[in-house]
């Protein structure tokens, strides 16, 4: 079985949850949902996952599973989501309409907030998520409109904003990684600027530079993203995402 670009992205999303232990994984979007399931199926079996509504599900139900196909192990209505995220026992993987080199994320609006050119969702839980617990991002289409020099509104807090806060205020802030259809990026640099951690097989650094609106930190040797094992590929195809929804999000 050959790993596709989508499979690589799913494995990268799974790896983001590695070592998280017994906390709630909140993957937003299709590829993150597949990734969190892969993590829970393999190396992070203690993760808590919900059905995307308010039920904590036991084991790893396939994506799109009906209620009667799942074993419910707990209750997570919205109020308990806030209670949980304020304890810090949560790792969210959100999307971003814009994200900058310090990991500031925007899902609120394009243009001036006072009268936007395009009204988007609103800040949702991004300000609280980013200041209270670990956050990662998934971007299905890596381009310079999304990965841009400056975001129009900071919904999710990035590293330069966190640095301007006091050590107490920023002590739970962590942007673990940004996963796109081209590679994996993190902030493991002296000034927490976004760095290329790995490129997916077949992706060149020129392609990434051409599609990024700011200067990325690039090391001398750029690793290649992890290719999922045969076992993982079988799990993705047969158990986790039998309808191939993630593959539609990241075409081969």
């Amino acid at each position: 079985m050959e790993a596709t670009r989508s499979d690589i992205c799913i494995a990268a999303c799974a790896d983001a949850f590695r070592g998280d232990g017994e906390i709630m994984a909140s993957p937003m979007g299709t590829t993150p949902a597949a990734g969190a399931r892969l993590a829970k199926s393999t190396f992070s079996q203690d993760l808590l996952l919900t059905d995307g509504v308010c039920r904590i599900v036991s084991g790893v139900p396939k994506m799109g599973a009906k209620l009667d196909e799942m074993t419910i192990e707990g209750w997570m209505p919205y109020r308990l989501v806030f209670d949980t995220l304020w304890t810090g026992r949560r790792h969210v993987m959100m999307g971003a309409t814009q994200i900058d080199k310090y990991g500031n994320q925007n899902i609120s609006c394009i243009g001036p907030w006072e009268q936007p050119k395009v009204q988007l969702l609103g800040a949702r839980g991004a300000p609280g998520n980013t200041i209270y617990h670990t956050t990662s991002y998934w971007i299905a289409k890596h381009n310079s409109r999304v990965l841009c020099e400056k975001v129009d509104m900071v919904s999710g807090v990035g590293y330069d904003r966190a640095a301007a806060l006091s050590p107490e205020q920023r002590r739970f802030h962590e942007i673990r990684c940004v996963i796109t259809n081209l590679g994996v990026f993190d902030f493991a640099t002296p000034d927490n600027r976004m760095r290329v951690r790995s490129l997916h097989p077949g992706v060149t650094i020129e392609e990434v530079r051409d599609n990024t609106g700011f200067d990325l930190v690039v090391g001398e040797d750029i690793p290649t993203s992890r290719v999922p094992s045969a076992d993982e590929l079988r799990m993705i195809r047969e158990d986790i995402d039998p309808n191939g929804w993630a593959a539609k999000e990241v075409p081969a």
Binding site: F82, Q119, T130, I131, Q169
Partner: protein, 283 residues
């Protein structure tokens, strides 16, 4: 014992121009739509709407009832962006107070607790503090001295919620999987109105759900509206799910004034009984 039953029109008669109205539910889920429509077709104006926003916000924006929206998001769930709210924001016809979802809850909780504010870290470092210059921070009086956001109370004149069941005295029951924040909306408000799918005798309240589902008690409610299909087209599980086809039609009206006029005539500017009749006819 007071019988608190009333009609949607009775509720609207208790609302005044310029009031701050909190609406329960979440996104396009369990919204008190029959009362929202009654407001939409009334002469009321300059309302401030406080909501985990869905079509309640959109419909009131589209009908010119809104001065200001207090929100963390406004979404139709299966359609991520609420098109009427979006149009109002982009035209600049409404004021906005955008918050983190958790800050929003904290604001309701502060109001419900009769506190001026509650502290939180949510908002720190984000542009929520820039776009809302009225938001202030507060320093912990203890040794840690941490500076936190002082989320101000979201005090409401009126709360509007929709429940699955209730009795005539105002005891309310949710039968779906999530109670949302409806109890907080009630506790944060001076006047509280609850529509229900069905009014049942008090002794029947535990027939359909456990004691844990009696989230709303009669101290929290001033008026009860029996409104079958009252949350349509939003979800009201387990009584009914979202009417996705209807929601799509609603969403499409934001881009087409003719579609909007037709929608308004058939689905907004009608009383609750006519709405239900139109719905039955639609099949």
């Amino acid at each position: 014992m007071a019988d608190k039953r009333m009609s949607e029109a009775d509720v609207v008669a208790r609302i005044e121009d310029g009031m701050t109205i909190g609406v329960g539910g979440w996104g396009s889920r369990r919204k008190p739509m029959s009362i929202i429509r009654e407001i939409a077709r009334s002469p009321l104006k300059d309302l401030t709407i406080v909501s985990y926003g869905g079509p309640d916000v959109g419909l009131l924006c589209a009908t010119g009832k809104v001065k200001k929206v207090v929100y963390g998001f406004v979404s139709l769930d299966s359609i991520p962006l609420e098109p009427h709210f979006r149009a109002a924001r982009q035209k600049g016809t409404i004021e906005a107070f955008e918050l983190d979802e958790g800050m929003f809850q904290w604001g309701l909780y502060a109001a419900a607790n009769r506190l001026p504010f509650l502290p939180t870290r949510a908002g720190l470092g984000s542009d929520i503090m820039r776009i809302n210059p009225q938001l202030k921070t507060v320093k912990s009086p203890y040794e840690d001295g941490e500076e936190l956001v002082a989320m101000p109370a979201l005090n409401l004149d009126v709360a509007l919620i929709h429940m699955n069941r209730g009795d005539a005295r105002g005891n309310g029951q949710f039968l779906g999987p999530d109670p949302y924040f409806d109890d907080l909306f009630c506790n944060a408000a001076k006047q509280r109105f609850m529509s229900v799918e069905k009014v049942v005798p008090t002794e029947d309240l535990l027939k359909e759900g456990s004691i844990h589902t009696l989230k709303i008690n009669r101290m929290m409610v001033d008026g009860v509206v029996e409104a079958p299909q009252g949350a349509h087209f939003t979800t009201c599980e387990p009584d009914y799910g979202r009417d996705e086809a209807f929601q799509k039609e609603y969403a499409a009206t934001a881009k087409d004034p003719e579609l909007w006029s037709a929608f308004y005539a058939k689905w907004v500017d009608v009383d609750a009984a006519t709405y239900r009749a139109n719905l039955a006819e639609r099949g």
